[in-house]
């Protein structure tokens, strides 16, 4: 899945700008451009990264995933469907970042990563421990000015347990 792209950019071009302006992938959004809102979240080797705060040249040769790559065979990914079912967006500007972040966040939880909200860090974290409080903490890097947070939490909760 995915395709190899070859572009030539200045060192100072952020990954976000390379994706949007050089590759036409406008799914990731430039909202704050300072790593504070999460709207530009993409996956690099499966890990969530703020694409406005890293240089394109730093990721030469790495697998980069954007929202455009989530659908498969014209079918939406489970997280995308959950966001629609639970009305997890209003204006839609933060949405691609929310979804990319949530997808990676679930992998982090599966891998046993605790968060600042985790009560007991002496035992391994599991997907069953992903409560609403945990989801809110782990998604706290993705801001939504339309305040869809309750519905976003519902969507992420559903997608977690649909696996």
């Amino acid at each position: 899945m995915g395709r190899i792209e070859r572009i030539t950019v200045e060192p100072r071009m952020a990954l976000l700008d390379a994706l949007r302006d050089e590759l036409g992938l406008t799914g990731p959004k430039k909202a704050c451009d300072r790593g504070e809102c999460g709207a530009c979240t993409v996956l690099i080797e499966g890990r969530r990264v703020l694409s406005c705060m890293t240089l394109a040249v730093m990721h030469d040769g790495q697998r980069i995933g954007t929202i455009e790559g989530l659908e498969h065979d014209a079918r939406l990914n489970a997280m995308q469907e959950a966001f629609i079912e639970h009305d997890g967006f209003q204006c839609g500007f933060c949405t691609s970042g929310q979804i990319m972040s949530a997808v990676a966040m679930i992998e982090e939880a599966k891998a046993g990563w605790p968060s600042a909200a985790t009560e007991d860090v002496t035992r391994p974290f599991t997907l069953n421990d992903l409560s609403a409080a945990e989801i809110r903490e782990r998604m706290s890097g993705n801001l939504c000015r339309c305040s869809c947070y309750p519905n976003i939490v519902d969507a992420v909760t559903e997608a977690t347990h649909r696996r």
Partner: protein, 273 residues
């Protein structure tokens, strides 16, 4: 961003030599601090060296440091003055500040590392050395542009946290204006070794109060033998470390808040034995 050339480091020795020789070269790792500073034209490297593929590391918090209108900031532009000293300083230091700089270190992790006396392993042009964490960050003095003791060419190889007897019972308590995505107004990393209900030894470091994580060394000594139930004795011990607090015009509340946060963190840590 200003233009710059870019390359990837292949080994620590070459990276260190490059950094030592070129004052306009900056290392980039995660980039979430440096890229922001470059976008704001606060950091202006001419060459960026990516150290992410080397085997086996948030700077300082003061709004004037990043100010686009170039208000006085000795950290950003040495000699220009300190706008926060008599300006907006609610969030700033109550310990260790100078008239040249009243900023605080914003890190959470650094406070914990300071409490546990971690070691920073640094490799430089003249070899490798270990720096005790409490000596890694500097007080501003009259050279606030230097946050830490790293010199040109120095590369942090690793940070080691030795097992401490206090390490098993610890707590980090962070108090901030917002519930999320916010630096500490005041924070405490507390680690204790207990003897029944009494404190055998304690390690207490504060964040949000100084240019470096602030160890409450005097309080730690006074806390030995104190019972966790003896709130007055706990408060008295903590207060000793706050005698030399020097609040600014807008952050006097940090003196009281800091003591309360330290107390609560100690109680939680002690209760975890």
């Amino acid at each position: 961003m200003q233009t710059f050339t870019f390359s990837r480091a292949t080994d620590p020795t070459t990276a260190i030599a490059a950094h030592a020789q070129d004052p306009h070269l900056a290392f980039i790792a995660g980039g979430t601090d440096l890229i922001g500073l470059m976008k704001d034209h606060v950091a202006l490297p001419q060459h960026v060296l990516d150290i992410n593929s080397l085997p086996d590391m948030s700077r300082i918090r003061c709004a004037y440091f990043r100010d686009e209108d170039d208000l006085p900031c000795n950290k950003r532009r040495p000699g220009s003055g300190c706008a926060a000293r008599d300006g907006l300083n609610r969030l700033h230091a109550i310990f260790g500040w100078s008239d040249e700089c009243v900023a605080t270190n914003p890190s959470d992790l650094a406070v914990a590392l300071a409490a546990l006396d971690a070691n920073v392993i640094v490799r430089g042009p003249r070899g490798q050395r270990s720096i005790t964490f409490t000596e890694f960050h500097r007080l501003p003095g009259n050279t606030p542009e230097c946050d830490n003791v790293l010199e040109r060419g120095d590369l942090i190889i690793s940070i080691e946290v030795p097992p401490r007897i206090e390490g098993r019972s610890s707590h980090y308590l962070k108090v901030r204006d917002r519930q999320s995505y916010e630096f500490a107004l005041v924070s405490t990393a507390a680690a204790v070794a207990m003897d029944g209900g009494r404190i055998r030894s304690a390690r207490v470091a504060m964040g949000g109060v100084a240019h470096k994580p602030w160890r409450l060394t005097a309080a730690e000594a006074a806390l030995r033998g104190v019972s966790l139930d003896d709130i007055e004795a706990l408060k008295k011990a903590i207060a000793i470390s706050f005698i030399d607090a020097r609040p600014l015009a807008q952050n006097g509340f940090k003196v009281e808040l800091g003591q309360r946060v330290a107390l609560r963190a100690l109680q939680v840590a002690g209760g975890r034995t």
